[in-house]
Structures are given as structure tokens and as C-alpha cells.
């Protein structure tokens, strides 16, 4: 069984984001880029399914500018068998990303597509669901546990009410949540090994994807800040302060 993993490069989660003064975007010059943390979890799960003997092949794919090769090498070093780099300088919107991934699915015929539930840059939380719809296949979003038995995956999902379990027939799209697993650390020998693993580059324009980038980003603004409040010295002062605000 083959597993396709969506593997996006984003601004590292530890970076304090700054909006450019002209509102055209966020400052990315000199800023650390990392794999989307949720996609790392997706890849880790794919690798574990391979180690269990459920899957044989793990393919990581990204849609990114030409300089994202090192990013994919990172996924290969973690353990993926192959990588596919769809090259475009444009930041595609989720519908376009889903249509692009569908093209890769048609070629690769994976049984499971694993994606992070959201990317921590645009926080859209859409691509997996859209992909499943376009593919006409099941979706299991926000997964915290995945069990594969034959052609069925039993997925536990983190939902607002608690934990929901559903069964989906394969092939299917599964998007992963934080507590599914803890991604492994990459060891130096794996980085060396990754250099010789196959990395295919595909120009975005060669796929014939109809653009779904319908939305125009007008501007970015910094959020309004909450001002720093007062420090009270003990519990009686705290209670008095809450009473003064009419909260108790």
C-alpha cells in the first residue's frame, strides 16, 4: 500500500510574526522555515504504518517554490521513500492545492492520503476535506488514532464534544491532529541517506490544474493588542478587583 503525505513548508511556529508596514504580507526575510508541525505528524504516522507492515511506500509531496528542495530532503531524512516537488512561486489557495494533490493521486494511486489538519500559516483547515470531495472518497479529519484493517481505516477524531470514531473505506483522506503521535528526530546518517533518495520535480503548469485561487488578499494588518493590566499582590486584592469590575 502506498501513502501520500502532504508536506507544507511554513514559517516556524516559534517565530513571532510581524506584519509588513505596507500590509502586503508578513516579514519572511531571514525567518526560519520549517515543516508544518501537523504535516510532520502526518508523515510520522505514515512511517509508523509502513513499519507495521500496513504500507510499503511513503511519498511526501509539496507545492512550493524551487528553493523548497531542502524541505523535502527533510521529509526524506525522516524516512519517506520518495518526494514529489510541485514547483510554483505562487502561494496557492487550498482549492488549488487540493486540485493539484488530486493530480498526484491520479498518478500515484495511494490508498491513504495523510495531511495535517491545518497549516499554521494560513490556518485554513480546508485542503484535506476539499481533496476528499474532489476525489469522491471518504475523509476522516482531526485524527488522534488510526487503525487500518484491510481496506478499512478506523479513525478516532478530536471533535468539540469529545472523541468520535468513524470507519472509512480506503482509499481515503485522513487529516491529523496534534495528539496522534510524536514525530521522530532526524539522525545524521538519515540526512546522508536522504540525499540519494528520489526527488521528482514537477512544474505546476505541466499538471494542467484549473486555478481555484478565487480570493484576493486585500491586506494584512496587525491584530489589535490587549493592553497590559495590573498586578495584584494577593487573593483578597484579586477578589476585590473582580468585584470592582462587576465580575463577582
Amino acid at each position: 500500500m502506498k501513502i501520500l503525505v502532504g508536506y507544507k513548508r511554513v514559517v516556524d511556529f516559534n517565530v513571532r510574526i510581524q506584519v509588513k508596514p505596507d500590509g502586503s504580507g508578513v516579514v519572511t526575510e531571514g525567518v526560519k522555515l520549517s515543516p508544518n508541525p501537523f504535516d510532520d505528524i502526518a508523515l510520522e504516522e505514515a512511517l509508523r504504518l509502513r513499519e507495521k507492515g500496513v504500507a510499503t511506500d511513503v511519498v511526501v509531496a509539496t507545492i512550493a517554490p524551487a528553493d523548497a528542495q531542502a524541505h523535502l530532503r527533510n521529509g526524506l531524512a525522516m524516512g519517506a521513500n520518495r518526494a514529489i516537488h510541485v514547483v510554483t512561486d505562487k502561494a496557492v489557495q487550498p482549492l488549488t492545492a487540493a486540485r493539484t494533490l488530486l493530480k498526484l493521486i491520479e498518478k500515484e494511486q495511494p490508498q491513504i492520503v495523510l495531511l495535517g489538519k491545518q497549516a499554521i500559516d494560513d490556518d485554513a483547515n480546508q485542503t484535506g476535506q476539499m481533496l476528499a470531495a474532489l476525489w469522491g472518497r471518504p475523509q476522516a479529519t482531526f485524527a488522534s488514532k488510526i487503525e487500518v484493517n484491510g481496506n478499512v481505516a478506523c479513525v478516532t477524531r478530536e471533535v468539540d464534544a469529545g472523541l468520535e470514531t468513524i470507519e472509512v473505506e480506503l482509499p481515503a483522506v485522513i487529516t491529523v491532529d496534534l495528539r496522534l503521535n510524536e514525530p521522530r528526530f532526524i539522525k545524521l546518517p538519515d540526512i546522508m541517506k536522504a540525499k540519494s533518495k528520489p526527488l521528482e520535480t514537477v512544474p505546476f503548469d505541466s499538471l494542467g490544474v484549473e486555478s481555484g485561487d478565487h480570493h484576493k488578499v486585500v491586506k494584512l494588518t496587525a491584530p489589535s493588542k490587549r493592553s497590559k493590566g495590573t498586578i495584584v499582590k494577593d487573593v483578597p486584592e484579586l477578589v476585590a478587583a473582580l468585584k470592582a469590575k462587576g465580575l463577582l
Partner: protein, 313 residues
């Protein structure tokens, strides 16, 4: 004029307050008509609740045993089939809406605007990105259908209207897939206020050190009539169940009073609470980032402060 269809969220035969918040968002767009669609096995009681909301033009029901559980693969084609006559399809940015709305959008060949926090008009929206550290203003083409999720913490729930909207059964022809099956739902305790709509929330973090210690937070919550929340660190460590997580990837809350105890305040947590009326932070580290946004801060160890606070209330 915008003609809006809102996908109702519900459970146990009751309408979720997130639906009334979507109505407020539709009103902000100055929508000409606001319809709500209820998909359920038995939608009547839920539809009756929805019909009372102020500003609602019509409630449409799709009764089907396949709609007993909110499976996106089953719901989306039915909603997409109904969407033709509407300019906008809205759902809440809860796990329900996050799951089903993009599937609807893709079936319609549309993009989606996630987490609308403000509608400037029917085609211009503000939404948070980068864990709320930037606000993106997006414009959608006038000739295209808008599919969007509504950031519920940004909107008040629409109240009861003077009149009751008509309820009609809708018939849609959509092929429902059999490839997705509901197995079970393990719900958290339901005898407490709901985290996403509670007026007061007390949250605990990693400092609690164990699930047993975390239980002490419930006593304070009970005294205050508050819902209980948790930081990601506390959930990851197993002190609290996942449905309590507040933050970028958990729940976004907007209570009148939010009390954070033993939470240092990672950016990802702060984004989930910045719409709270008053934030109280209790942490033994006076340098913790939570104090940067807290209205009232108390530097102290929870083991000492929590019992004192319980006593004082």
C-alpha cells in the same frame, strides 16, 4: 442582495449556539435573506428552535436516517444540492463546520473563507492567520458563491425574533456515499457549562502536574459556575481531555471572565482567549507571557492561590 444559507449545528436534538452566531455574521453582511438548513434524522425540534432566531427568513429541513450523525461525506452533497439558489453558504468554525464546509465548497468548485471574524460587506472579510498574529482581509469575487466558516467567538448569538420563521421540508436529490460509517462518540461530562459559550472559564496548564491535581480546578469552576479549559501542554500531558483544549488548534473562547492558572501563555494559547472580556492570570513565574495580555495578574503558585481563591468565593 446576499441570500445566505446557514448550515445548522446540533446535537441531542438541540441547536448549537454556534448557529445563532452564524446568523449574526449574516446580518453583518446585510443579507437580504437568511435561511437555515437542518440536516438530521429527526430535524423538527431543532428546526423549531432555529425558526425563533431573529433575522431568519426560513428554516429548511432535510430528514434522513443517514443524517443521524454529522458525517461530512453524507451531509456535503445534500447541502451542495441545496446551495444553488443561494449566494452564500455559512457554517460555524467549530469541528463540525471545519469538517463539512470545505467539502461543500469543493463540491461547488469554490474556495472557502475560514474563520470570518468580521464582514465588511457580503464579499469582504477579515480572518485571523498565523495563530491570530495577523489579520487577513480577503475579497471574494461578486459573481461567485461564497462559502465561509464563522469564527464564533467574534459574534454574539442572535436572540429570539419577534416572529417565527416558516419551517419547510426540502427535498434534495443527492447520492449519499456508503463509504463512511459512524462508530461511536465518547463525550465529555455534559453537566457543566459548555466551554465555547460559557460566560466564565477557568483554565489550567502544565503547572498542575497531574490529572489528579487538575481535578481541583473543577471545584473552583463549580463555585464560579464556570466551564473548564486547559492549555495544550496540560492536554498533551494527559491532565485534561482533548475537548478542553483552548487555543489555535483547540477551541476559541470569548467568555466575560477567563481565569488562567498555571498557564505560561504560548502564542497558540493566547490566540484562543484574546476575545475574552477580562483575563486573569495566576502563575508563579512573573515573567510568563500570559501577564502581557492579562487584565489582572497574580504572581503565585497555584497550590497556594487556588485553595485561597476557593475560600474567598
Amino acid at each position: 442582495m446576499a441570500k445566505v444559507l446557514i448550515v445548522a449545528e446540533h446535537a441531542h436534538g438541540k441547536l448549537n449556539p454556534s448557529t445563532a452566531k452564524c446568523v449574526s455574521c449574516a446580518k453583518q453582511m446585510a443579507a437580504g435573506a437568511i435561511d437555515i438548513v437542518v440536516l438530521a434524522d429527526a430535524p423538527d425540534a431543532i428546526a423549531a428552535e432555529a425558526a425563533k432566531l431573529d433575522g431568519v427568513s426560513r428554516v429548511r429541513t432535510i430528514a434522513n436516517p443517514a443524517n443521524a450523525h454529522a458525517l461530512a461525506a453524507a451531509l456535503a452533497p445534500q447541502i451542495a444540492a441545496l446551495a444553488g439558489e443561494y449566494t452564500h453558504v455559512l457554517g460555524p468554525s467549530t469541528t463540525f463546520g471545519k469538517d463539512v464546509m470545505p467539502r461543500i465548497a469543493a463540491l461547488l468548485g469554490e474556495g472557502q473563507v475560514s474563520d470570518v471574524m468580521k464582514a465588511h460587506d457580503a464579499h469582504t472579510f477579515d480572518r485571523p492567520i498565523y495563530a491570530g498574529n495577523a489579520i487577513q482581509t480577503v475579497e471574494t469575487p461578486k459573481e461567485r458563491k461564497v462559502v465561509a466558516t464563522v469564527r464564533t467567538a467574534s459574534y454574539p448569538a442572535a436572540g429570539a425574533g419577534a416572529a417565527t420563521a416558516p419551517v419547510e421540508a426540502a427535498s434534495v436529490s443527492a447520492a449519499l456515499p456508503g463509504h463512511t460509517r459512524f462508530v461511536e462518540l465518547k463525550e465529555g461530562r455534559s453537566d457543566r457549562p459548555d466551554l465555547q459559550s460559557a460566560a466564565r472559564v477557568v483554565s489550567g496548564g502544565r503547572a498542575f502536574g497531574s490529572a489528579e491535581n487538575f481535578q481541583q480546578l473543577y471545584r473552583l469552576a463549580d463555585k464560579l459556575g464556570a466551564a473548564v479549559g486547559a492549555s495544550r501542554a496540560a492536554v498533551d500531558a494527559g491532565y485534561a481531555p482533548n475537548e478542553l483544549q483552548v487555543g489555535q488548534t483547540g477551541k476559541i473562547v470569548a467568555p466575560e471572565l477567563y481565569i488562567a492558572i498555571g498557564i505560561s501563555g504560548a502564542i497558540q494559547h493566547l490566540t484562543g482567549i484574546k476575545d475574552a472580556g477580562t483575563i486573569v492570570a495566576i502563575n508563579k513565574d512573573g515573567e510568563a507571557p500570559i501577564f502581557e495580555i492579562a487584565d489582572i495578574g497574580l504572581v503565585g503558585d497555584w497550590t497556594k492561590v487556588l485553595p485561597e481563591l476557593e475560600q474567598a468565593l
